[in-house]
Symmetry: C2
Subunit: 194 residues, 2 copies
């Protein structure tokens, strides 16, 4: 029984699992090493620092979310269509990338500057993108909602929460959850069931 080879990716993956479970500050490098059946100093052959692990994980996830969003809404003009696809990919991602979502939401604030601000700017870009879809829809009369900001927050955080309860071996799959949550989102902005 030989162990899997130690690589930069395997270290990142173990860190991702443990950060999601116990938080960045609650996880010791010795625990990451233990999960890989290796002594702690060996990790340094495949990473720069503990902080760099977190930085890499957050950066990958946040840029991925933004890329997902852009490909989902690019080329679409109808606010209903744009919100539908934006929510679909966002909700789906939180079912398929649970650990990443938990770490980004809990531990982005633990990054040192200037990384923290850079990551928060990227997150805000997605936030504003979603909100603009809603304000657009309200302006053109497709949506009926009192405060676009409130609705946008509600929809976003509803999706984020999927990461907290979704189980791979549960009764519903990522696609079904994404569809149902997208329905919730559309009802929130006043669009009837599709």
């Amino acid at each position: 029984m030989t162990r899997a080879p130690l690589t930069g990716e395997s270290v990142l993956d173990a860190a991702l699992t443990l950060f999601a479970e116990r938080g960045y500050h609650g996880t010791a490098l010795s625990e990451i090493a233990g999960a890989l059946d290796v002594r702690t100093p060996s990790l340094y052959n495949h990473m720069r620092s503990k902080h760099d692990l977190l930085r890499t994980l957050v950066e990958r996830t946040v840029t991925g979310v933004l890329a997902d969003f852009r490909t989902a809404v690019d080329g679409r003009t109808d606010p209903i269509d744009r919100l539908h696809h934006a929510t679909l990919v966002y909700a789906r991602r939180h079912a398929t990338h649970r650990r990443e979502a938990i770490v980004v939401n809990r531990d982005t604030g633990s990054l040192d500057e200037p990384h923290r601000s850079a990551m928060q700017d990227l997150r805000r870009a997605h936030e504003h993108g979603l909100r603009e879809i809603i304000t657009d829809g309200v302006r053109t009369g497709r949506f009926a909602v009192d405060s676009p900001a409130l609705a946008s927050f509600a929809i976003r955080e509803m999706c984020v929460s999927i990461a907290r309860w979704f189980r791979d071996d549960g009764p519903v799959g990522p696609d079904q959850v994404a569809r149902e949550y997208t329905e919730f989102a559309l009802t929130i902005v006043g669009v009837g069931r599709v």
Copy 2:
């Protein structure tokens, strides 16, 4: 310029603020002491341990949530009425007790046993209470929703998220936010605007 007297409550309050900002593991007792303009060991005249601070904060909040829920639904039988009031107090609490909500959601898992399990049981009691209202409403035909569990999660986490963006000096107050989110919740379960 004399400083405020050090009490058990003032220590808890400073801990609450810092735990909410940086997380339990990300906060040092020296920082709590610094916020109170006191040296670290002085804290021990007013607390048992750092862990005990977290335990007290979580316990107070979780029992408060459950008490709120019970007084909100007790005596009401109509599922719409019950869900309306349960969501109202739950949403409102997350606007008025932001720090508590953030700490409970992020750091309950950092409690040692048996406290962690005890607190999680209390949280689950609220979760099941809310879900039962929805299953009740579905059974009696007042609600139209595919999965009560999914709807219940979506509503709960939507409310929890209020704690993450609400600002006391913002344009909307706790009552208005609670009312709008309660509307969202009712539309999610298929009840038209009231």
